[in-house]
């Protein structure tokens, strides 16, 4: 590294301008304050008993089960979808991509109404699902998983597609010319290369599924033990039992925070030296 010609130059390079620092500090406070406020209002002395009530534990278990199921389904269908979007230049690809990512920006309640139109009792597929599989999705746990998958899968698709695009197809082609089957080449060459993105995408999708509210309450309703996930339980407890709502909120924030923290390096790419400080 070259020596810097003067001390002032060093300072200018290493310290961001005051205005930038000030605006960034305001942004940090903007994000941090609501969480600090929440932590401050939690009735800590009762926290454990509020968290371990039957109602809380039931919602927590249901949330974990449904969000994990939604993540697995997202991986199962999302990776092939990302692959097709990244590798094949078919006509209308942009439209298909926009369609598959629409639920990312849609108000989730609208997503719930749209799910009715497709899988509800009077939806396009509703009758067929019931006659063929005896499946009624609205007001069922499967309906919760469906709503969560609908909202969460785009996070995985976006992340994995970006990674696949950044990959040099040469490596995969080389493996194939050396006699590897398509599946073998994918498993041994492509998959390891996109693994960080896959994990990051799955973690983001999982966190989003865990926090899903609007599509769930619209499509699956709200019944303790069957469709009342943690976010629904928090929303309803806000009126009847604010202490419990706060404790559950903090638990959800804690889980999401841990996911984002664990994901940092993968999401941001290669860790830099300043990241390690």
């Amino acid at each position: 590294m070259n020596r810097t010609p003067s001390r002032t130059r060093t300072v200018a390079l290493h310290r961001p301008p005051v205005a930038v620092l000030a605006l960034a500090a305001i942004a940090i406070a903007f994000f941090a304050l609501p969480f600090i406020g929440l932590l401050w209002r939690v009735p800590w002395s009762d926290a454990w008993s509020l968290l371990t009530t039957d109602a809380s534990l039931t919602a927590l278990r249901l949330s974990l089960e449904t969000s994990i199921a939604a993540t697995l389904i997202s991986v199962m269908f999302g990776v092939p979808l990302a692959w097709v979007l990244a590798r094949y230049g078919f006509p209308g690809r942009r439209i298909v991509r926009a369609l598959c990512l629409l639920s990312l920006v849609l108000p989730p309640v609208v997503g719930g109404v749209a799910l009715f139109a497709a899988y509800g009792r009077r939806g396009i597929l509703g009758d067929a699902l019931f006659e063929w599989f005896g499946l009624r999705l609205p007001f069922s746990t499967a309906g919760v998983v469906l709503a969560q998958t609908f909202i969460a899968m785009p996070f995985l698709v976006l992340t994995v597609e970006a990674a696949l695009r950044g990959l040099d197809p040469q490596n995969e082609n080389a493996a194939r010319t050396l006699g590897a089957s398509r599946w073998y080449a994918f498993r041994r060459v492509t998959l390891p290369a996109i693994r960080p993105a896959l994990i990051a995408g799955a973690a983001l999708a999982w966190a989003r599924a865990l926090g899903e509210f609007g599509a769930t309450i619209t499509f699956a309703g709200n019944l303790p033990g069957r469709t009342q996930t943690m976010p629904l339980s928090v929303y309803l407890a806000l009126e009847s039992n604010p202490g419990q709502a706060l404790v559950l909120s903090v638990l959800m924030i804690g889980i999401s925070f841990a996911v984002l923290l664990g994901l940092r390096d993968r999401w941001l790419g290669q860790p830099t030296s300043s990241d390690r400080v």
Binding site: F139, I217, N222, L223
Partner: protein, 225 residues
Amino acid sequence: MSGTITVSATASLQGAFTNITAAFEKANPNASITINFAASSTLASQIMSGAPIDVFASADEANMAKVSEANLIVGTATNFASNSLEIIVRKGNPSKITSLADLTKPGLIYITCGPEVPIGRYSAQVLKNANVTVKPASFEPDVKGIVAKVSAGEADAGIVYTTDVAATNGATVGIVIPASVNVIAKYPIATISTSKNQSLAQAWIDFVLSAEGRSILQSYGFGAL
């Protein structure tokens, strides 16, 4: 009268209060009224958390009492309307429901609200009065959630206010609940003590209580008191 106020009103008042507000603003061109519609319980907790609300209209006396006990209302609340309950079913009554007992038909999807929402408590009371036990498929956040799902045909029935059925303009039908087991909901209204424009708030309440206000309420199916 001039200025701006925000009214928090129970979801079942949506049609009537929207209309009353239009009439009030016509008579008072310098006044602007914003209405925040949700379940009474949601509104009560918003007000108690410090939401800048000028008037509260609840679908029950319990939620008004919560706000009143927090010393947040001016004087005492006035009851301004009543509402009775009906079984709501979709147009054509496809599940052929004629009584509360029919709600126990196997496979029938009955939805309600939680006990903190007035309609949830009232419907539980009605079912108890009639000695009928029904397992709900969902506890919707407010009465509009019940109406929306029944009129969309995703749920078969619920118990809602008479006025909610009327507001769907024929998309749903109300099955009468006998007076002997029915509950009459009384709607109280009050000015919130933290209001910065209490004179406008009071003028708006007076308008709701006036002959014109009452006739609008009646046109939406509310009963007089």
